[in-house]
Subunit: 361 residues, 2 copies
C-alpha cells in the first residue's frame, strides 16, 4: 500500500494507492465507529462497487446511506447538486456527516462541491473509480459543477480528508476511459518531469495491459507531482496553473460539444497538441519534442487533432472565457521543453488561431 | 467616519460607518481605476440607491455593471444564484471581477455566495441597506442561500474585502424593518455585553428617532462585538455560536412560515424569549432579567411570542434540523445572565417544548 501526504497544515490528508482496497477498512481510517456516511455514486458505478464498499463500511460500524445519481458530465449541474442537498436535508444529515464520492471526476467534483457548501462545509472522502480521476480530479480540492455557459465555472476549493485509489477498478474501464486518464498522465510528464516522460515512452505498453507495478509507479508519480504543486499553491493563484497545460484549448472542445462525444482526456490530448503548436509558433519549443509528444499521445489511443466541425473562431470564443483569461486576454500555459512549461500572457489571438489550424490540418 | 477592522490576517478588511457615504469614493478604496464591478441589488433598493452608487463608481473610473433581482427571502435560492452566474458568464466576467451587494441580508448573502463560488471564488464588497444587515449579515463572511427544507442550509465562508455602512439608508426603512435590526442589536447585548444592554435601555428612544450619534455608537458597538468573535472563530466551530442566541427557535418560525409574514428580526425576538424561558426552566437565569429583556423587545416594536398557529411540535421538527444539532440532539445557546450565554448540549426535548409554550401563552 502506497501512501502520499498532501501537505496543507491542518488540512493535510493521505492518498492511499493499492489494489484490493475495498476488502479492508484500513484505508478508511479517518472514519470512526458510528460516523454517518453518505456514499454518492452514479448508476454505472453502483452496480459494480456500491454494495462491496457499503458492506465494508457497515461491517466496520459506520452508519452508511447512499445516493445514486445519473451518469454523465451533463449531470454535473446545479440541478443534480440540489438533488444531493434535498437527500441530505430530508434525512436531517448534520454537519458531522461525511460524504464519500465513489465514481469518476464528475462524481468527485459534485460530491466535493456539495460537501463544500452543505451547511457551509462538511467532510468528504474521494474514492475515484477512473484512471483520470485517480491521477487528477480526486486530488487537490478543486470541486465544482458546470454551467451551460462553461465548464467548472461554479465551484470551491475544499480538500477531502482522504483519497482512496483502488487499482482494481481499472479492470472495468473501457479503452476510451483508460486513454482519457493517460492524457492527464502524459500532461504531468510534459509539464513537470522529463524523466517521467521517458519512463512513459518505455512503459506505455505495460500500462495498457494493466501491469500492476507499472500502474502503481505511474499513479504514484502523478500524485507526487500534483501534491508538490498543491502544497505550494493550493488556490491556483500561481504555479498550480501549470497543471492546466492543454486545458484552455481542451475546455473549448468540451464546451463546444456540450460535454458529450469527446472524453475529457481526448479533449485535453488535442489541447496539448494545440499548446505544443502554439509554443512552436512562438519559437519556444522544438520540433523533435513535438513529434515525441504526438507519438506518445497516439500510442495511448488519443486524438492529436480537434473535432472536424470546430473552426479556430469557435475555439477563441470559448477560450476567452477561460478562468485564467483577464478581460479577454489569452493567458496560456505552454511548453518550453518536455518537463517544463510557462504561462505566456496576452498571446496574440491570430497566432493562437493559426496554431489551432496547424494542429487540425 | 468610523472604521473597524475585522482581523483575519491576509483576509482582514474594514467596516466603514458614516452618513453620506455614497457621495464619496474614499470608503470604496479597495477598488482601483479600471476595476470591473457588478452591482447586485433588488427591485426595491434599485430605484432609491442604484444610480447614486453607480454614478459615484463610474465617475471614479470603475467599470460598473448591475443586476437587479426580485426582492424577498424566497428569492435567496439556487434559481436566483443561477441568474447571477448566467449574467456573469454571458458577459465573460473573469476572476478579477468584484461583486458589490447593495441591499439587505438576502442580497448580501446571495451576492457573497455567488462570489464564493463563481470560478471558485472572486472578491466582493458588502453595502448593507438595512439596519439588520448593517449589524449582522454583512459582517463575518457567512454567505449562503436557503433550501426549501431549511434556511441558510447551503453556503460558504467567504469574507468580503470591505463593508460600507451608510447610515442615510436607514431613513427609507419601514418601522417593521428597523425593528428587525433592533432584534439583532438586543441579541448582541444579551449575549455579550451587559453595559450595552443598559445603554440600549437608556437610548432606545433615540435610536427610534434615528438620532445620528446614537446610531453610530450602537452600530459601531455591534460591529466591534461581532469582530471580536470572528477574529477568534471565523468558521463557527466554537465561540461564534453565541451569536446564534434565539436563532434555533427563530429559524424554526421562519422555515414554518416559508420565510414570509414574519421578518427575521421578529422571529429572532420571539426566539430570544423562548431561549430566555428555556434558561429559566433550567434554573440558569433569573426572572427580573427576563422581564427587562421582554420589556426592551416590546419597546423596540418586536413580538415576544411566536406565531399563534405554530405548536411546540412544529418548532421541534425544524429545530432538530438546525446546523448546531448533532443526530437530532438539541444544542442550544441560552443566556445565563444579561451579557452572558452558554451552549447547553442535548437539551431535553420536553423541557424545550414547555419553554416554547410558556413563551406563547
Amino acid at each position: 500500500m502506497e501512501k502520499i501526504i498532501i501537505k496543507l497544515q491542518k488540512r493535510s490528508y493521505p492518498i492511499i494507492i493499492a489494489d484490493k482496497l475495498f476488502n479492508d477498512f484500513l484505508p478508511f481510517w479517518p472514519l470512526n465507529i458510528d460516523d454517518k456516511v453518505v456514499l454518492i455514486t452514479n448508476d454505472r458505478v453502483a452496480p459494480i462497487y456500491l454494495n462491496i464498499l457499503r458492506n465494508l463500511l457497515i461491517r466496520s460500524g459506520i452508519v452508511t446511506d447512499q445516493l445514486i445519481l445519473p451518469d454523465g458530465e451533463q449531470n454535473k449541474s446545479l440541478i443534480t447538486l440540489d438533488t444531493i442537498f434535498t437527500k441530505l436535508l430530508k434525512k436531517n444529515y448534520d454537519r458531522s456527516t461525511i460524504l464519500i464520492g465513489l465514481g469518476g471526476g464528475v462524481i468527485g467534483d459534485i460530491t466535493g462541491f456539495a460537501a463544500a457548501t452543505y451547511q457551509r462545509g462538511i467532510r468528504f472522502i474521494q474514492v475515484p473509480t477512473t484512471l483520470l480521476a485517480q491521477v487528477d480530479a480526486s486530488i487537490g480540492g478543486k470541486t465544482g459543477i458546470n454551467h451551460i455557459l462553461g465548464k467548472n465555472m461554479i465551484g470551491a476549493f475544499h480538500q477531502p480528508i482522504a483519497v482512496i485509489i483502488n487499482l482494481d477498478v481499472l479492470h472495468t474501464l473501457s479503452m476510451k476511459e483508460f486513454s482519457s486518464g493517460l492524457a492527464e498522465i502524459i500532461k504531468y510528464a510534459i509539464a513537470l518531469d522529463s524523466s517521467f516522460f521517458g519512463w512513459l515512452e518505455s512503459h506505455l505498453d505495460d500500462l495498457l495491459i494493466l501491469h500492476l507495478p507499472s500502474l502503481i509507479y505511474c499513479i504514484r508519480r502523478c500524485c507526487e507531482l500534483k501534491a508538490s504543486i498543491i502544497a505550494i499553491d493550493e488556490r491556483d493563484q500561481g504555479i498550480r496553473s501549470v497543471l492546466n497545460l492543454g486545458h484552455t484549448y481542451g475546455h473549448a472542445i468540451e464546451s463546444y460539444l456540450g460535454y458529450s462525444q469527446w472524453s475529457h482526456g481526448e479533449s485535453i490530448a488535442a489541447g496539448i497538441m494545440m499548446a505544443v503548436n502554439t509554443a512552436l509558433r512562438l519559437n519556444q519549443f522544438n520540433c523533435s519534442d513535438a513529434k515525441r509528444i504526438k507519438l506518445l499521445l497516439t500510442r495511448a489511443g488519443l486524438p492529436v487533432r480537434g473535432p472536424k466541425e470546430m473552426t479556430s473562431k469557435n475555439y477563441l470564443e470559448y477560450m476567452k472565457r477561460d478562468k485564467k483569461s483577464i478581460s479577454g486576454q489569452l493567458n496560456l500555459v505552454l511548453p518550453t521543453s518536455i518537463g517544463n512549461v510557462k504561462t505566456v500572457f496576452n498571446v496574440n489571438h491570430e497566432l493562437v488561431s493559426s496554431s489551432i489550424e496547424d494542429t487540425n490540418n
